[in-house]
Structures are given as structure tokens and as C-alpha cells.
Symmetry: C2
Amino acid sequence: MYSLLYVRIAREVVDLTARARIRDAAIECFAQSGFGASFRTIAAHAEVSPGLITHHFGSKEALREECDAEVLRRYRDIKTNAVDAPSAHLLTELTQPTSSPTILVYLIRAVGAGGPGARRFLDRLTDDMRDVMARGVESGLVRPSRDEEARLRYLTYQTMGALLVQFLVTSPATPDEFVATLGDAGSDVILPILELATEGYLADRSILDDYVRFLAEPHDDQGASAS
Amino acid sequence: MYSLLYVRIAREVVDLTARARIRDAAIECFAQSGFGASFRTIAAHAEVSPGLITHHFGSKEALREECDAEVLRRYRDIKTNAVDAPSAHLLTELTQPTSSPTILVYLIRAVGAGGPGARRFLDRLTDDMRDVMARGVESGLVRPSRDEEARLRYLTYQTMGALLVQFLVTSPATPDEFVATLGDAGSDVILPILELATEGYLADRSILDDYVRFLAEPHDDQGASAS
DNA sequence: CAACAGGCTATACACGCGACCAGTCCGCGA
DNA sequence: TCGCGGACTGGTCGCGTGTATAGCCTGTTG
């Protein structure tokens, strides 16, 4: 019994157990070539046979879920370890090569894949953003919103969406190439981001004020919606 | 000779020629189920045999390109026909069910597919946005930017990205269902959009001002970058 | 009337995928 | 020492894809 434990510990230290190696290889392959990466590719990358993946995970979907969980875990680690750098907003933080390019690209691909998985990732991202924004509002750095949750969600969608689109049009060969692209085009993208963040782009307040006034009016479609 | 002409005209009026029917069916299927839609599905939708698609278009990529061109053409038509409604920004216009849901979803899917095709679509969208923004700046409705092109590009990426993400997490069964979803969640999304557009979310100008001052400083990495 | 041309169909092919399974090897436990 | 169980392998299967091709069927032409 304890010898089995020994083996497990030893393999975790020196080189991981085959199961973990497959998982890590899958994460890398998914980030590299999308979730269409074949078992054979992953197996070759993990230096195991294709059949072993099925043996350990049963199906591709199960493997995908385990990879998702692992990436989410690592992402949280990166976030909590980077609290010392109080960046103003999410994108600045994500753009930093601090977080592993593989994780960033996996996030983007997970969102890009859509479905419930994408929703889970976005919820997690929203959670992290929520803390940042709350602290920002408290410190007076960011304006309070009339609907904090809605603003949070849309900001997340917007930010991740811009990142996703940038990724899609670049179609980089490797995650590192993508973050390099971000750095290259950085001077072109940071200025509009900051401009839009501090000034917006509408010079006329009337549209917003009209809409707020419209929302303040009583509506009748709420009570009768269920019937 | 004229009888052949007659046939052509008649089919264009009553029902289109098989080639056009395939193209339209492909556009609809691509919007409905993505570009992975099979020849068989498209053929069934166009009421022809799968082989006929190959016969007319040669390959799937060629079919795709023809669909892209057609959608872009129709999109431009929709845009030019809707000049009478001077909407402030793109998303308001796109959200309207004025433009056919199929076209909107095809746009989103084309961007989501990535690659050079996505770039073409985004460039076209940027072009349209450029006119709107220029007119807005002229009329004093929107603030001028320190870098109009960069703002334009990022705004397009942001807007389309948010739309794309929304589409991906909803994973609607049909284009109509998607625009319906937009309408349902509209009250949750319009407010943050307007807020962010007119006020931004940063209360402190210092970050932007610092960056602008930083850009004004002379840089040495430009001349030595090539070596 | 007969022959032809082309739109159109049905079938067949090659390929890559995930899933599955019989068999091998190694190490722990009795 | 023997035997058992799980890690692991390589090959095979069915499926669905895009592509290629041989043949039918209709309308036109000499």
C-alpha cells in the first residue's frame, strides 16, 4: 500500500503520472490547435498510446472537462498570486505574459468554443472582475454603475470578445505568438482602451439620460409577462 | 435561344436557378449550423443532390467564398437602405431585427470562424463604422479621438466580440432565436452600453493622461527595431 | 425523328475521427 | 514464488466527411 503511495509521490515529483501527463498534454494541444485536437496528437505529445486516453478518461468530453477544471484552477492560482500588482482592469492583467500564454489562449478557446463550458469560464472571469471593480469603486478609481452586475457582465463579454476576435483574425500558430502579437499591436490598442475607459466616446449625455429616465418610468410588461 | 432566356428569367422570378438556390441554402445552413454544415444538409435544403454542389462550385471553400460575397453584398444593401434611421452606434443598429437575422448571424459566424475571411468581414464593418463615427464627430455627438483609426478598430472588435460571445454562450438553435435573446436581455445590456459609451468606467483621468504623456515622449525602439 | 448536350442524380471512394477490445507487461500482495 | 490486477499498447470498427465519376433524363438542335 505505502509502496503504491511512494510510486505516486515519486512520479508527481520527477515526472507526472501518465494520467496527469495526458491532461497537461491535452491542455497544451487544445490551446495550440483547438479542441479538435485528436487523441493521436495528444497521445504523441504525452508520449503514450491513443488508447490510454480512452482508458483513463472514457471519452473526449470527460477529458475536456478535466482540462477545463485544471485550467480554471491554474488561472485562479495565477490571479491570487498576482494580487501584489494592483492593475486597473482585467485586460491589462491578461495581456501581461505573467499568466502563461497557454492558459490565456485556453481561456480564449474555451470561450470561443461556446456552450455551457464557455459560460462557466465567463462566470469565473466575471467573478474575478467583480472583486477588482468593487475595490476600484471603493477606492474611487472607477465610477459606480447604475447596475453593477450588468456592467460587469457586459464589460467581461466586451473584453473577452475583443481578445477573442483579435485571436481569431490573427490565427496565431502558437500561444506565445499570440501574446507577442498583443505586445506588438499594444501601442495601437492601449490608447483607445484608456480613452474609452475614462471618457467614453459619446460627447452628448442626452441618450443615456433619456434612457435612464425611460427606465425610471413604470412599465406594465413586467406583471403580465408570466401570463 | 430566347426560350433558354425565358427559362432563366422565369426561374429567377418564381424560383431561382439551382446555383443561386444552392448559394442561398448554403447561407441559411451556414448561419443556422455553422460552416461545418455538410453538403448533404445544404443539398437537402436546396432540394438538389449533394453532387450538384461540387458540380457548380468545385469545392466547399469556393462555395463559402461565394456565400461570403453575397452576404457582404446584402449587408451593404441593408446598411444603405437604413440610412434614414440615424442610429448613434453600430450595435443599436445591428440589434434591430431590421437586418435579417440570417445575415447578422452569418456575420457573427464569419467572424467567429476566424482567418482571412473574418478579417475581410471586420474590415467591412469597420468601414461602415468609420462613416458613422466621422459624421458623429462632425456633428459633435461623439468625442474626437487621439487616434481615430485605432479607436475605430478596437470599438469594432469590442462590439462584434461582445456580440460573438453572447452568441456563443447562448448557442441559439436558430438565428431568429438569437435576435429574440438579444431583445430579451436588451434591458440588461443597453444600460451598461450607454453608461460606458458616455461616461466610461474610470473616474480617475491620471492613467490616460500618464499614457498620453508617455506616448509624447521620444522613443528609441523605433529606429533600432529592424536591426 | 434521331442524336446530342448539359443539368442533375446516385453511387463509390479515400480519409480521419472517436470508440472499442483483445492482448501484453509490470509490480504488488499472499 | 505464484498469481492477480491494473497500467498500457496496437489494431480494428463504424461513422461521417468532402471529393470524384459514371449514368439518367430532359430539352434542344440538325
